[in-house]
């Protein structure tokens, strides 16, 4: 029996995963570190900034025990840069995801955190939403995180009204691009469509459409594909026969 749920993650599940992302807060009260299944939270001593999971940050924010430091990419200037990239510089592609995190070593060189030999980090263990995240690149969970911050910590976000408007613009631009993917299939599936840099919620939104379109293209092309394969197989057989006879000739 097939699962009644549609394939992929539901929006609420994506939001749940997003709440594991680390985010920077400025605590207003002391809080000893808590032992959690996912690890221990840092000891909070105001006014020292600490990185905590988003769910804890939102909880503390609602109780007025902390202020959230929004990630740098949520600044209006950074969002404007991304929109400029998406509309003017590369109107077909997606803004690239944030670069791999790097850390300065003692000699003033930057080194990748994900070095060979060490355990590679991926979301949510990359600090893509803390205050030291890079600007001008939106991480995998950008949409959910921005929505949650604007809903619960709008007073901590720099010029939240402007940010809200810019996020709407960005969302429209990118969803129009996702919708344009079916039209790229018009000339045939000759390449792999790139979804690098597409966020989790955007994928959940468009998964039904894109997978449905590809399924349809597959069904329409199925018989043509079958005859092409048969032809190829026959040609392969003929080649094999030729080779076999060549071998015979060389034997004598």
């Amino acid at each position: 029996m097939a699962s009644p749920l549609p394939p992929g993650l539901a929006p609420s599940e994506i939001a749940f995963l997003c709440e594991m992302e680390l985010i920077t807060i400025v605590p207003r009260q002391k809080l000893e570190s808590i032992d959690l299944l996912s690890g221990t939270t840092p000891t909070l001593r105001p006014p020292r900034r600490e990185n905590v999971p988003l769910w804890l940050a939102l909880l503390l924010k609602k109780q007025r025990r902390a202020n959230i430091v929004p990630p740098p990419w949520l600044h209006p200037d950074s969002l404007q840069d991304i929109i400029h990239f998406e509309t003017k510089i590369n109107p077909e592609g997606w803004a690239p995801p944030p670069p791999p995190s790097a850390r300065a070593d003692g000699r003033g060189n930057a080194q990748r955190t994900n070095r060979p030999g060490t355990t590679p980090l991926s979301a949510p263990f990359l600090s893509s939403c803390t205050s030291d995240a890079p600007t001008g690149a939106i991480p995998y969970h950008w949409f959910e995180l921005a929505e949650m911050l604007l809903a619960h910590a709008a007073d901590d976000v720099t010029s939240s009204a402007e940010v809200r408007g810019l996020l709407r613009d960005l969302q429209e631009v990118r969803s129009a691009k996702l919708r344009a993917i079916p039209a790229q299939l018009e000339a045939g599936i000759d390449g792999v469509m790139s979804l690098r840099g597409v966020g989790a919620m955007e994928l959940a939104e468009s998964r039904g459409l894109i997978s449905g379109v590809i399924e349809g293209v597959r069904k329409i092309g199925a018989s043509a594909e079958l005859s092409r394969r048969e032809e190829e197989e026959q040609r392969g057989d003929a080649d094999m026969d030729n080779e076999a006879s060549d071998d015979d000739g060389m034997g004598f």
Binding site: A15, E186, E205, G208, L209, S211, G212, G216, A224
Partner: protein, 179 residues
């Protein structure tokens, strides 16, 4: 294709034009003349499942008892209209299961052009279906939208539903998180 797939069953019931090659007694009722025999060369429209069965059935070296023709919903007139502008043709008026019948025809006939046109139609219209699915709740596109959505064929309706569900889910979550 699942055994319980209602759309597949309905596609099986679509009528296709065909011609009998043999004289068949007791089948005159297919031609609305129950008292006569079915003469060779009689044009008939039969459901796809029966026509396919008879067109592929052949005993030994004899020719099959029936020749199958491409149904009018995939005829030259419709194909050239689709080639001109896939968006402007209300596919539902041609056949409710246009793509389904088309795929079955492609299994039976080796029609390169038909497959090309169908794929182009599907991809071009799918882009529009996605747009309408996104804007459906906002009601922004007006009468033109109604016209287009009415002309959607069964596969496209299914696609519209899937696309709309995704957009709706994300929108519902965004509303909920604000509370």
């Amino acid at each position: 294709m699942s055994y319980y797939d209602v759309d597949a069953i309905l596609t099986d019931g679509e009528k296709v034009p065909c011609t009998f090659e043999l004289e068949v007694p007791y089948l005159g009722h297919l031609n609305n003349a129950p008292s006569q025999v079915l003469k060779p060369g009689t044009p008939l429209t039969l459901p796809l499942w029966l026509a396919e069965l008879l067109a592929l059935a052949s005993s030994g070296d004899s020719s099959p008892p029936l020749t199958l023709n491409i149904p009018p919903c995939l005829g030259t007139a419709v194909l050239s209209a689709l080639k001109a502008d896939p968006r402007a043709v209300p596919l539902r008026d041609q056949s409710v299961h246009l793509y389904g019948v088309g795929v079955r025809m492609l299994d039976l006939f080796d029609e390169k052009e038909l497959s090309e046109v169908l794929r182009r139609t599907w991809t071009v219209r799918a882009g529009d279906v996605g747009l309408h699915a996104r804007k459906a709740d906002e009601g922004g596109l007006g009468g033109q939208q109604e016209e287009f959505l009415r002309g959607l064929e069964e596969w496209e309706r299914k696609l519209f539903r899937r696309a709309h569900e995704g957009v709706k889910g994300a929108k519902e979550w965004t509303e909920r998180v604000k509370k």
